[in-house]
């Protein structure tokens, strides 16, 4: 049988990153082919190349044996490739029918034939078993329903290949089941489905074949029966720990600094954990697991709607970042440029921002602890490298920027630091320095919560790791846990035996 889709030798480099390296991938008619990999493994890049958003540096794409070159997403769509993204692309204030026919309206004598579009829309929706009124506004539908509308739209174009990128990420149990049934139906009609998901139970339930990507390379492609979950997980993460992590603390942690009970909001549920003096607590989880939301709740950015937080035994309310700052909680956001820095202000002013924000309004901006020589000393101690601390922080490298934000919170003498992706996109030397700082901060009797997608980082630096899955803490691992252990909990496989992992 000729493959419906065959991508061979695909390579793609971005400045500084080799996103894809000689990747082969194919999909037969009526096959569900799952792609698994960690964040940044190259899944999205591969699909963007298939969808015509990116052009590959090397490699060829064949559709049913014919070589194609896409220079625009529209060409891919016309060739029968439809990509359903995590973020839906529907217009909320238009009807279902209008959305399905967007850009391909049926016209009669120059006028829109709304009746025909409604009929055809109803027919398409019927084909996928979706009971949706074509005249309903998209905004009135649940996310699951909207996803079905997206799929109906794909069928209108007579898509032969449908790519689903984490389609169930935003769905609840029932929505997920509906979607999976639909995938089975489409397969029976001969549509090829490329299914990208972190959720192992789904992948095991519907995939015919599974391909693992890691660091831009294909690890293997196997039929489902030859790919037990343990093998998949190991292939996704298998790599060595680097040895630039600081030594673990010599003394056991002290009294509880921060305790969260029943923390719940829209993104997390019933979160409970403690951070002790001297401890670095890691938080792991996949992109939609709620780990970022947990950090936001701790710093008052997206507070818990119920539950209690106690600091040194005293209950506190953290409804705004300023309250958290006053309570002694500092925040290193995951998106340095958008959430961490005032890029056009000086290194010094960025490092002093919190101190100046918490001082009395009439305090002198250069007085006492705000004096240039005092903050310069702290910046030098942290080894922030700049020709002049008066220069704009936007001109510094990512590592130096990150260090300057850390200085901001060290200067504020916070008790607890919440770090999100502390070393994302920064070089090895700065990474090691940041880990070292984290360790010595904790060793001085304070605590750190570090949220990260970088598992080796968590394993290397954290004393304990909380793993989140679908908004809940699915497990806690002591120091010395393996990536496989974390991945199991992150994928929600806690109840399944994972003996084969250690086999």
């Amino acid at each position: 049988m000729t493959a419906a889709l065959s991508m061979s030798g695909i390579s793609k480099a971005f400045p500084g990153v080799r996103a894809l390296d000689n990747v082969d991938f194919d999909c037969l008619p009526g096959e569900v082919h799952a792609i698994c990999g960690e964040n940044g493994a190259g899944k999205s890049t591969l699909m963007k190349i298939l969808g015509g958003s990116y052009r590959p540096d090397a490699g060829t794409i064949q559709l049913a044996g014919t070589t194609v070159h896409f220079t625009h997403p529209r060409q891919a769509a016309e060739a029968g490739i439809s990509i359903i993204h995590q973020e839906l692309s529907l217009l909320p204030h238009r009807t279902v029918a209008e959305n399905i026919f967007m850009g391909r309206e049926i016209a009669r004598r120059g006028l829109l034939d709304k009746a025909a579009m409604r009929r055809k829309a109803a027919q398409l929706l019927g084909r996928i078993g979706a009971e949706i009124d074509p005249q309903a506004l998209v905004s009135s539908l649940s996310i699951a329903m909207q996803q079905l509308v997206e799929i109906a739209k794909a069928l209108l174009l007579d898509a032969r290949i449908i790519v689903m990128d984490e389609p169930t990420a935003a769905l609840d149990e029932r929505g997920s089941r509906t979607l999976l049934t639909l995938v089975q139906n489409l397969r029976r009609e001969g549509v090829s489905i490329v299914y990208i998901s972190h959720r192992m139970p789904e992948v095991m339930a519907i995939a015919d074949r599974i391909t693992i990507l890691k660091d831009g390379k294909k690890v293997w492609t196997r039929p489902r029966d030859a790919a037990p979950v343990g093998e998949i997980v190991r292939a996704m993460v298998g790599r060595d720990l680097d040895d630039f992590y600081p030594a673990p603390p010599s003394s056991p942690p002290g009294a509880a600094l921060l305790a969260v009970q029943d923390g719940t909001n829209a993104a997390v549920q019933d979160v409970a954990f403690t951070v002790r003096a001297g401890e670095i607590v890691g938080v792991a989880g996949l992109e939609d697991s709620g780990k970022g939301a947990l950090a936001q709740a701790l710093v008052g950015d997206a507070p818990f709607s119920s539950g209690t937080i106690t600091l040194r035994g005293k209950p506190v309310t953290l409804r705004a970042p300023r309250q958290a700052t006053a309570a002694g909680i500092g925040y290193l956001p995951g998106d340095r440029k958008r959430e961490g820095l005032a890029l056009h202000q000086s290194v010094r002013d960025n490092a002093l921002l919190t101190l100046r924000s918490m001082a009395g309004l009439l305090a002198r901006p250069q007085g006492g602890a705000f004096a240039s020589n005092v903050i310069d000393g702290k910046l030098r101690e942290m080894d922030v490298r700049a020709a002049d601390f008066g220069q704009e922080i936007g001109t510094l490298s990512g590592g130096n920027q990150q260090k300057a934000i850390i200085v901001r919170w060290l200067a504020q003498a916070s008790d607890i630091l919440v770090f999100v992706e502390p070393t994302r996109g920064i070089d090895i030397a700065a990474k090691a320095a940041i880990y070292e700082t984290m360790r010595s901060f904790a060793d001085s009797g304070r605590g750190i919560v570090v949220v990260s997608s970088d598992m080796p980082e968590l394993i290397g630096v954290a004393d304990r790791i909380l793993v989140m899955h679908r908004g809940r803490i699915s497990g806690e691992l002591p120091r010395g846990a393996s990536e496989e252990d974390i991945m199991h909990l992150a994928l929600g496989l806690a109840d399944q035996p994972h003996r084969e992992v250690h086999a």
């Binding site: 300023r322 056009h344 202000q345 921002l353 001109t395 030397a429």
Partner: protein, 325 residues
């Protein structure tokens, strides 16, 4: 790891400062070339006196611009001040000081409304203050019945037009120039003598980062609008002093104040600028108006040229910042 030495922000601010000052010096030299008596201290003092309202408005506007906003309502507040003063005082010199106090209360109220709406309802400041501009203008006209009425006593008008003569060295000293000096000193102190200035710059540069760093973003924004409104009241009092009562006393001043800040090197949408941007920008703009007057250009062209200057100044600052990145 290498760090590329790039122009420091201090040097960037220095360039901006010099730009405003240089433009002013060039324009004033051109004026002096056509009318040499502008070099006499007396005429220079008079020039400052007439530039006083714009200069004070620019200082207030700068606070809002630094935090990333605009205040379009300041011209309307100045008009309200002129009309309200003449109605409330109605020629009674004893009422002057109490009424001035009332005027500041009214101005601060407008500033608070602007600030609260921007900070808490998250309405873009350009829309918010456009609304308060229409609102305040309408109220002022309705109250006065659409025409100037009442009367301003001398002790009120003196704030704008009193000139002391026989002052050593400079010869004459208008009271308005003393007011400028005091106001600029206060505005400078607010930005450089307290932590407020650094907070405002951070909020204008990146409000999200500032909030997460613990900066009281809402308070910082609200204060900026209050300072802006206070400057509008002050400017209105001076305007009433030397131009007398009219229903369009403050018309268009808000845009002139914005243009002044930008000419002086403040960056629209926040994060960059100093009090000297406002001062020298305002002086440059006023010198330009004076020059156009001397050249005998029709009054209407003044507005067009102001528009051109505004676009050119913003364009230049965008171009500079793009080149830097």
């Amino acid at each position: 790891m290498t760090t590329v030495p790039l122009p420091s922000s201090r040097r960037a601010a220095g360039i901006a400062l010099n730009a405003g000052l240089v433009i002013f010096v060039v324009l004033y030299a051109a004026i002096a070339l056509l009318q040499p008596n502008y070099l006499e201290p007396g005429l220079f003092m008079n020039f400052l006196r007439r530039a006083a309202p714009l200069l004070i408005l620019a200082c207030g506007q700068l606070y809002v611009i630094l935090t990333g906003g605009f205040d379009l309502s300041m011209g309307a507040v100045a008009t309200l001040v002129v009309l309200a003063a003449s109605i409330l005082i109605n020629g009674d010199p004893d009422a002057t000081w109490a009424v001035i106090g009332t005027l500041y209360v009214m101005g601060i109220a407008v500033g608070l409304v602007n600030g609260l709406v921007v900070a808490f309802l998250k309405v873009p400041s350009i829309i918010t203050t456009l609304g308060t501009m229409l609102l305040v203008n309408g109220l002022a006209l309705a109250w006065s019945g659409g025409a100037a009425r009442g009367d301003l006593p001398d002790n009120f008008r003196n704030l704008g037009r009193l000139v002391w003569r026989g002052v050593p060295v400079i010869g004459t000293l208008p009271l308005a120039v003393v007011v400028i000096a005091g106001f600029v000193a206060l505005a400078w102190w607010g930005l450089n003598g307290t932590v407020y200035g650094k907070r405002a710059l951070a909020v204008g540069d990146n409000p999200r980062a500032a909030e997460l760093a613990g900066t009281p973003v809402a308070v910082t924004r609200i204060l900026a609008f209050v300072v802006s409104a206070v400057s509008a009241v002050t400017a209105g009092i001076l305007l009433g002093g030397f131009s007398g009562v009219s229903v369009n006393a403050g018309e268009g001043l808000e845009l002139q104040a914005i243009a002044a800040c930008v000419i002086g090197g403040a960056q629209l949408l926040g994060g960059r600028g100093s009090i000297w941007s406002a001062v020298f920008g305002a002086l440059s703009l006023f010198a330009l108006f004076t020059l156009l007057n001397i050249l005998g250009l029709p009054q209407a062209l003044r507005d067009s040229i102001q528009g051109l200057i505004l676009i050119a100044a913003v364009g230049a600052s965008m171009w500079r910042s793009r080149k830097r990145n």
